[in-house]
């Protein structure tokens, strides 16, 4: 195992995996308790339009993808806050249009084909050092904002009506949460790809939820689980020469199955302190 760590790309891959785990633990928890998995999926797929745009215009990956993901998040925030009953249909439209625009933009780019798959399934083994720095900045920003507004995010997620009475700016906070999801999705796509973003964003928090007594505890447990799945998945994919993103998700799915089994055998222990 130690010789694996001597390889630079593997060290980068591990660092990227841990950064993504932190983001998935914190943001994934908010996504799961606010029941907006579908919305997060919509933002992720719209981000694919951003990838296409970045490639077509020759922009850096991060600039194009983050810009389009944030724009999609803003549109979804506006729709959800103004016409909640129409929100899921609109999210579905943004989801599909983003994806289609991404594919067409890549079609229109002369001589470009090769990286399509890497964005669909991730390319954790090809994260350059420069991008690692950008990922670290985004991760720190996302986690910092959630920590700063933690009591308000907690109140909004648990009881938005009461939060409003206590003068928590719920609409602004909701929009901020979608923007944080957009930023997170962009760096998670790098590791497990567009198709699997939602799995990594939801499986670890979903397992953590029943074992946690607080939102903070759920975020910490989800982060630890996510890190475990990512690292184990990475080594398994290296050892068996498999696609790393897909392997990480299968490891997470195995963990999910194990948690369900454990809960069935120890029903009374769920929901402890912390």
């Amino acid at each position: 195992m130690s010789e694996i760590l001597h390889m630079e790309f593997m060290r980068h891959a591990l660092a990227a995996g841990l950064l993504v785990s932190l983001v998935c633990g914190v943001i994934g928890t908010l996504v799961v308790v606010n029941r907006i998995v579908f919305l997060a999926g919509g933002i992720a797929h719209a981000a694919y339009g951003g990838i296409g745009l970045a490639i077509f215009l020759g922009w850096p990956f991060l600039a194009g993808t983050l810009g389009v993901a944030l724009a999609a998040a803003a549109a979804m925030a506006a729709v959800t806050l103004r016409a909640r009953h129409r929100a899921d249909a609109v999210v579905g439209v943004i989801w599909a249009v983003g994806m289609a625009a991404g594919i067409v933009l890549i079609d229109l780019t002369p001589g470009y084909r090769s990286d399509l798959m890497s964005y669909l399934f991730g390319s954790i083994l090809a994260v350059p050092a420069s991008e690692l720095g950008e990922m670290a900045v985004i991760a720190a920003l996302v986690v910092g904002v959630v920590a700063w507004f933690y009591p308000h995010f907690l109140a909004m997620s648990y009881d938005p009506e009461f939060a409003r009475i206590r003068r928590v700016p719920v609409a602004a906070l909701y929009s901020l949460m979608l923007a944080l999801i957009a930023a997170s999705v962009v760096i998670v796509i790098r590791v497990v790809g567009l198709i699997l973003v939602i799995a990594l964003l939801t499986i670890p928090p979903f397992i953590a939820e029943s074992f946690s007594g607080s939102l903070k505890g759920m975020m910490a447990r989800a982060t630890a689980l996510s890190a475990l799945f990512t690292v184990v998945g990475l080594f398994v994919s290296y050892g068996l020469d498999l696609t790393s993103g897909a392997t990480i998700i299968l490891v997470a799915a195995a963990g999910f199955g194990a948690a369900l089994l454990w809960r069935r055998l120890h029903p009374a222990r769920a929901g402890g302190a912390g």
Binding site: A155, R167, G271, A273
Partner: protein, 261 residues
């Protein structure tokens, strides 16, 4: 606006309020004046507009027509001085949160979020006081999903009380408390009523108790006489009121009921 100096200053002053959801009229020309220290119960059939009225008082909804003053200002500005216990305490029961953190939520906006260390201690003391008052301090480490309906109700009242509100609004608060707990619950509300004005909503007339100082009926319209004579006929009529409303769809009738002691 002129006020009689001999009467207590109203904490809630609703004048000519109309409200509708999607063109469906919910409240029509509602007037209601609640003096400081009142213990008012709003009765009326389901769908009669009781919860809507509470949400208007809280500033969660805005009236289509008419004026509402709460504690001398607009409802959204007064909302943080009003304690609110919502109807459904069972939402989000699987949410990973302990009872203590639910109650602490009631301090948000009173310097919640980032704060200096002294304020933090103050907040903790206020949370403890409210939880002990409601008898839920021993349950503070439990997850909300592990509490019974009655325990959860008490925790939600503690959350409403933790910011020392001037008005306490309860929406169907008795719904999740069993019959034998109700008398005790009314004693508790009467105790709280020494320092806070209470407005409680219920669709069940069996909920009325001698602890209650006045009763109003809401079925799209409302009429409420503050003060006035107390007669057995009025008392009896007050209990029958919602039945009449359901039977005939005749709105408003208002009664001042017996004040104990």
């Amino acid at each position: 606006m002129e006020r009689n100096r001999n009467r207590p200053e109203p904490v809630i002053d609703i004048r000519g309020v109309w409200f509708s959801y999607n063109g469906q009229s919910v409240l029509e020309g509602v007037n209601l004046v609640v003096p400081r220290g009142d213990f008012l119960v709003l009765i009326g059939p389901n769908g009669g507009g009781k919860t809507t009225l509470l949400k208007l008082i809280l500033g969660l909804l805005a009236p289509r027509r008419g004026e509402i003053a709460v504690l001398g200002t607009s409802p959204p500005r007064a909302a943080h001085r009003v304690g609110y216990v919502p109807q459904n305490v069972h939402v989000n029961k699987s949410f990973p949160i302990c009872v203590h953190d639910v109650v602490r939520m009631g301090r948000l906006g009173a310097g919640g979020g980032r704060m200096r260390p002294g304020a933090r201690r103050e907040e903790e003391a206020a949370v403890r006081r409210a939880m002990e008052e409601m008898g839920v301090w021993e349950l503070r480490r439990r997850r909300v999903g592990q509490l019974s309906g009655g325990q959860l109700q008490r925790a939600f009242i503690a959350r409403a009380l933790v910011s020392r509100p001037e008005i306490l609004l309860l929406d169907e608060a008795m719904a999740s408390i069993d019959a034998q707990g109700r008398a005790e619950f009314y004693d508790l509300l009467a105790e709280l009523n020494r320092s806070v004005t209470i407005v409680a909503v219920t669709h069940d007339t069996m909920m009325l108790s001698p602890r209650v100082k006045s009763v109003a009926c809401v079925n799209r319209r409302l009429h409420h006489h503050a003060g006035g004579e107390i007669t057995p006929e009025l008392l009896e009529a007050a209990y029958r009121c919602p039945v009449d409303l359901v039977a005939h769809g005749v709105p408003h009738r208002v009664f001042e009921v017996h004040r104990e002691g």
